[in-house]
Amino acid sequence: MRGVLWDVTFEQFAVARLPSLLRYAVVLTGDRDLAQDVVQEVLARAQVKWRRISDADSPEAYVRRMVLNEYLSWRRSWAVRNVHAVGERLVDIDDARGGVRDPAQGVVDADALWNRLATLGRKQRAVLVLRYYEQMEDSAIADLLNCSPATVRSHASRALKTLRLSPEFAPRVHAKEAS
């Protein structure tokens, strides 16, 4: 009897999961073009060896891991990607908004934070994405990144500090109210 996963063709997988993969890649890379390149490269490779991937316990987890690894080891055209014309990068798009397009303060804050995320190193950003977007435990992140949970915590701590999100930089509204 053939297993259910064995029957999932690459095309069926792509139809069902590509939008989610692209959202993940955009959040991971912070760059629409790079996200597209990374997902394209990964899926092209995945298609060629789909039989093997579809045999995995979770083909989607396998492919998401490929996306993460591709992003972390991306070298080709990296310099080129960083020489964008003004307005091409998501950061520029957000800068152009100037935080005033949407009156909602939450959106303004989210945009500002998104811009600051672009200043992080790839591994630091990946840790934050895996922790807060993918909602993974540090141990699982450590497994993905092939490092220790302590290293994951260190990456996260540094990233939060850079983003001015660590406790000492966070807004202290409640402290004022309490005093």
């Binding site: 139809v15 590509l18 939008p19 692209l22 959040v27 690894n69 080709r76 055209s77 966070a170």
Partner: protein, 228 residues
Amino acid sequence: MNHNEDRLREAFESHEHLAPDSAAVYARVQELSKAYVWRRRGAQAAGGIVLGAGLIAGVANLPAILPAGPADNSGAMVAPAAAPAVPSVEPSPSRPAKPPIERSPEPYPNQKQYDAYFNAGYDYDDALKLAKKWKMSTADDNIGDVKVRAGQWLIDGKKLPVRPSNDPDDVDIVTPKEEQQVNAFFEAGYDYDDAVKLAKMWKKPTPYEAKIAGGKKILAGETLPIRP
């Protein structure tokens, strides 16, 4: 709930909508997959690389997983019928540990031209630019003609009016040799997890270095210490 967690999640989720169009990406994946197959064949012919059995099966499977023609898709991705188009490449029901070696499909027409085109660093986006320059159709079923024509130009030693997207002269680009080595690594059936293991074994600083070292050995006809 943690304030930082909320803020970060909101920042991430509020920018999900910037993801590229799925249908366009999928079309590009199809192009890249073909390029992988052709590069693989080129490497096989040049270096006498023995391709992994699973890989050959994957290549043989390509026609079954290629999307239907534009008329069927209308630009959107459509789930395929349950049965593959090519029954002969159906996987074995018994889920063998190693997929059986299957016959290679018929050679692609104009393979030389395609090889010349992709090996020169050109890709799908370049074909679109060339089509505009040459006033050719950019429809999906015609873009192959553009590549064939461009490939023939390259074979004839002519310069194309568009620079390749993957220009080997770019500063931070992977060298063609490195790319060949990394390709050889994947072509032999190895993947990232294998690279991680090899990096530990060989004390390489990154899995990427292991891919290069592994690919180098494969191209030299050596066997790697682990199976793919």
